[in-house]
Symmetry: C2
């Protein structure tokens, strides 16, 4: 039996976050000690590790809830789980594209600036004048 602090240390999920996940229905409400403190077992540890991992991959809470629900029907096809992951991959790739454009734009803006006065500062000018941009955004 683990206290919430033990669970936190073992999974790297902060204590208030564990309580938050309980509130969000990602983990079942834990058993309580006589003094009303949460007590966890091995399967809670596994569940929380699952959630942690999925969050690290950037999945949001509704997606995780769905994956948990799916994982509790081992005999069903896993097309839905694959779809969740695939949709997320698409979103990740879109973000990547956007960030790459930002990176280039920022590099360009910074490299054009000679570092003298604000009046001539390319950073400020580029922000003021969209026409100085390369490409659309």
């Amino acid at each position: 039996m683990l206290s919430i602090g033990d669970l936190s240390k073992r999974t790297g999920v902060k204590v208030p976050t564990i309580r938050y996940y309980e509130q969000m229905g990602l983990i079942e409400a834990a058993e309580r000690s006589e003094g009303n403190q949460r007590r966890y077992e091995r399967h809670d540890l596994e569940r929380l590790a699952f959630i942690r991992h999925a969050r690290d991959l950037g999945l949001d809470i509704p997606a995780i809830r769905e994956l948990i629900a799916l994982s509790q029907h081992p005999d069903q096809p896993c097309a839905n789980a694959d779809r969740i992951a695939a949709d997320h991959l698409i979103a990740v790739r879109e973000k990547l594209e956007k960030l790459k454009k930002l990176e280039h734009e920022l590099e360009r803006i910074i490299s054009h600036c000679d570092g003298h006065s604000i009046e001539d500062c390319y950073v400020i000018r580029a922000l003021s004048d969209h026409g100085l941009c390369e490409g659309e955004h």
Copy 2:
């Protein structure tokens, strides 16, 4: 003289967002019509375009506030403006790195799954068992 709706159409910034920027001190409180409606001029349009552009680049509101303050002292050196942009570039690159790792991990998880039952689903298994991951995260 533009109404807030006109300004919104011209800049692509939604009406409530313009009011929000005013509240945040990014744009000055606009003049008002007799009936208390906001009326804007050319320089408001430019200021809002500046903000829009900076937000598109991912700069946060405090950074934009600082850039605006800097832009109002044309005779000062622009090292601070450059620093803001450079710091942001670093943050963008860090996010890029993280997302690339996520992309690979998701690709790997998805490609390993044969699409049959949840019981064998690699998506679910990979989330449950961190040991199946490549690299750290």
